[in-house]
Amino acid sequence: MELFAQFFVTALTAVAVENAVFARALGINKTVLFMKSPKMGILYGAVLTWMGVLSSFLVAIVNVLLEGRTGIMYIRAPLFSICVAAVYIVTYLVAHKWKPKLFQIIKPALPVCTFNTALFGAFYISSTGSYHFLQTVGYTLGTGVGYTLALLVIYFARKRLAISPVPRSFRGLPILLLYIGLLSLAIYGLLGHGLPS
């Protein structure tokens, strides 16, 4: 029971407290910042969550095997890449062979969401935090869900900013980055952090 409680707490922490986008600026690029519809955001988020959760099973095993060993900083990164690559290959081939309609839908999102700094960031955090198996899976699940919610918030914010009177130089990406920065500050304050003096 305690393990499941840790799983949910870790997942919730990754969704809200340590959101990949707002707290750590991970996984953002122009493709996800300028999505054409909320469905695309949900698709990207869902693919990232799926790939992350599957990879986290392998990553958790790698973390257990590397625990207490010397020189892990040299082999951890390649091993994480191998884990993610293995899941990528299996997902790609299975979807291509047996689910061609689904494959056509997820094909553009698959490389962007698999080799994503948000995902690898979640793995490194779980590794340095010495998370056990359920915590690693929970943290990655929470990262994916938090990432999806962040993309949706950014999409709707962009729609509102597009109809607002914004100076010409700030239209598009600049005002969106300012918005994300202010939102990040608001979440930082809501969590009880104060600005350093």
């Binding site: 990164a77 994503n116 690898f120 010409r168 130089s169 300012l178 202010l182």
Partner: protein, 228 residues
Amino acid sequence: MNLSTVRKYTKKHSVVAGLLLKNPVVVLGLDLPFVIATSTSLRNAAAMSIMLLCIHMFTLLAARFTAGRMHRWLRMLCHIFVSTIMMVLTRALVVRMFHQDILNSLGMYIYLMGVNGMTIYQALAVKRKTPLLQVLAAAFQNVLGFVLVMFLLSFVRELLGNGTLWGVVIPLPAVFPGLLIPFSGFISVGFLLAFGRFLNKRVTAFLITESARTDLRYAQLRGENRDD
């Protein structure tokens, strides 16, 4: 319209445009996480720049040789492995150059360089027929764009946020430690991009005004010659 003036200024403008106005970070939105989170000191900027230089150049070199020889998804995996291996090697170099405490400063972002978006997606765009020197030149220009943005932001954030430059204390009337927190990275990049656009608008207006002035002078001279 007399195009020679436009060509002369466009040639000079293109050097600046390539670094700031077609910058891979602020225009294409690549590698934003690294710029936003780690541009808190000049040492960080230097370390990340060295990391990106080695990773980007070698990965694009590998991409030139894998282009057209294997399927796209397999190419992607090759690029990821090359960039990860280069990240491990460059990390050791950076620790040797900047001392172990750079790892505390950069945190996990030094490891995430192995999957940075600029390298991976530009590696996929490399074609087999592209000359090798052109690939390397384009790669170097991308890195230069990243370096410029990183150093600009790091200079401002370290000076105003910490009151230091490369660890040397600079006496200032006030410092704003809030500039070192990630949210200010978003705001700083937003302002930098807006400033770049403002500059572009001014330079374009200058180009058009100068061309129109040259046209008028040329037309007046032709008018005088006809009278003669």
